[in-house]
């Protein structure tokens, strides 16, 4: 399987070890941590999933475990950052983040994580603006 990252209608901005991706279609933002960003970078449509654990190990020094890659690809797929939805068959046994941390002996921050960001709505922005003094 050779997952390909979506590149159309996305704005990507790195900031302090994280990467903010703004989806112009869905008008949503996602925050990718270093591991998720690295896996997203491997999704060039040519790199097989099987070779990604080794690359991750080489690049970030993380354990070359397929579960880590599967977790990242699943999150990328759910966030709509892959061209095709990721569906790995046969799927590796599901593990929670805590189980992964324990099994791989890594900190939770090292696991792939994609967070959706809620930008302030106009009403929130206006209420903030009203609090500032206007004359």
């Amino acid at each position: 399987m050779h997952p390909a990252a979506r590149s159309k209608d996305l704005l990507v901005e790195p900031m302090l070890d994280e990467t903010i991706v703004y989806d112009l279609e869905a008008h949503r933002s996602h925050c990718l941590n270093r591991t998720a960003k690295a896996v997203w970078g491997y999704c060039d449509g040519k790199t097989p999933v099987e070779s990604m654990p080794d690359r991750l190990h080489d690049d970030l020094g993380l354990p070359g475990d397929p579960a880590l890659i599967c977790d990242a690809l699943r999150q990328l797929s759910e966030a709509g950052l892959l061209q095709q939805p990721f569906d790995m068959t046969p799927a590796p046994p599901a593990s929670s983040r805590r189980q992964l941390c324990r099994r791989l002996a890594v900190a939770a921050a090292a696991l792939p994580l994609i967070t959706s960001i809620v930008a302030p709505t106009p009403a929130m922005a206006q209420s903030r603006a009203r609090r500032r003094r206007r004359h």
Binding site: E13, E18, I20, L24, H27, S29, P122, A125, R131, R134
Partner: protein, 410 residues
């Protein structure tokens, strides 16, 4: 300048064009990073600060501090990305309708002053257009889903002052159309900031592959001080803008800017902005500017008062801000500062009276059960008297500007 806390000192140092001597030591020592981020966000400089930290080596800025700043910068950065996207769609829609537009503040100014559209925090978008294009622009933006906000009274008041707030079709930023900045900002002579003058001096930028025009540095040298004074310089971001302008525009002919500002009635505001930026970021103004500032003795006192408000000894608690309790002493101090920044005694008095009349009108609108009849009559009389004086003085000091009657409300 005396800064009151390590958080304030670090905040100023990390957004300063000149790195402070204690910057690295403060970074290492500070252990109240959530407080730092909250203050930076309140002053609109969290993205500038995060960018500064981002350029430091991970060895210097690491661990918990790095994680906290990154986490707190996510939402503003996401908002900045959204604003730049929406700005491009708005500018493109206006261009297709044959409307020339100049993006104010927000991503365009961020790109011009800081080299990236994602460094200035803004809540909404502001676009300056020609008064002749106002109706066409509203129609073009309606096709994007924008609609007018507020009741007809507020809309009419906005139209009279040359601006219109448009609500987005979904959860996006509001858009403010402006076509008479000089009138809205109460300049004596509106010509230096009218659309045609601004268009001739415009700066062209590329934001996400879209060509965007914005105010040129010479116009910014007038607009930024007037805008900052309008908000009594309550955010560090506006002072940063002045410092960035001084840094990015060494070719600005400041004596000429001061001459134009003198005609427009905002010379004191321009000098105040420059002095304030110099005091906050600890740099000296050129002898010409310093000499001009010395000719206006109250300026130093005004700078000191603004500094006290900008970085107070104790930051107001967010909870009391949210409670929205009116602080009349604070409000009056802000009104007085606002009026004192005007050029000329007559204009200052007129401004003060106009502001007081506005506040009294708001007080009159309070629910009947909390106002006594006597107080109500006294307030009403005071408001009418101040309004009369205000209008009389305005007629003496300002020329009439045209009102665009061609926008139909509804």
């Amino acid at each position: 300048m005396l800064l009151r806390s390590p958080v304030q000192t670090l905040l100023v140092d990390c957004v300063s064009p000149l790195a402070g001597a204690n910057f690295y030591a403060l970074c290492a020592e500070l252990n109240t990073w959530p407080q730092f981020c909250a203050l930076a966000d309140r002053h609109g400089v969290l993205l500038l600060a995060a960018d500064r930290f981002d350029r430091l080596s991970p060895d210097v800025f690491a661990g918990q501090a790095r994680r906290i700043v990154a986490r707190e910068a996510r939402a503003p950065l996401s908002r900045a990305l959204e604003l730049s996207t929406v700005l491009c769609s708005v500018v493109t829609a206006l261009r297709r309708s044959g409307v020339r537009s100049l993006a104010l503040k927000g991503p365009a100014m961020s790109a011009l002053l800081y080299g990236s559209p994602l460094r200035r925090q803004s809540a909404d978008l502001d676009v300056l257009i020609s008064p002749d294009d106002a109706a066409v622009a509203v129609t073009a933006l309606a096709r994007l889903g924008y609609c007018m906000a507020g009741d007809s009274g507020a809309l009419q008041q906005g139209l009279d002052l040359g601006h219109l707030v448009l609500m987005p079709p979904s959860a996006g930023p509001t858009l403010e159309l402006q076509w008479d900045l000089g009138r809205r900002w109460q300049l004596r002579d509106t010509a230096p900031l009218d659309f045609e003058t601004a268009w001739r001096g415009r700066a062209e930028l590329a934001i996400d592959g879209c060509e965007v025009s914005t105010l040129g540095l010479r116009e910014l040298a007038l607009a930024l001080p007037v805008h900052g004074a309008r908000h009594t310089w309550s955010r560090l971001l506006w002072v940063c803008d002045i410092a960035a302008l001084l840094e990015s525009g060494p070719s600005i002919d400041w004596p000429q800017v001061l001459r134009v500002a003198g005609r427009a009635g905002c010379r004191r505001r321009v000098l105040l902005a420059l002095l304030l930026a110099g005091r906050v970021f600890r740099f000296d103004l050129s002898p010409v500017l310093a000499g001009s500032a010395e000719c206006d003795p109250p300026l130093q006192r005004l700078v000191a008062e603004h500094l006290r408000r900008l970085l107070p000894a104790s930051e107001p608690a967010l909870s009391s801000e949210l409670a929205g309790r009116p602080d009349y002493e604070e409000e009056f101090a802000a009104l007085r500062l606002f009026a004192m920044c005007r050029d000329g005694r007559r204009e200052r008095l007129s401004t003060m009276l106009g502001l007081v009349a506005g506040k009294l009108r708001a007080a009159e609108a309070a629910p009947p059960r909390i106002r006594s009849r006597l107080v109500w009559h006294v307030r009403r009389a005071a408001r009418l008297a101040s309004l009369c004086l205000h209008h009389l003085l305005r007629r003496l000091t300002r020329r009439q500007a045209h009102s665009p009657a061609h926008i139909v409300l509804g």
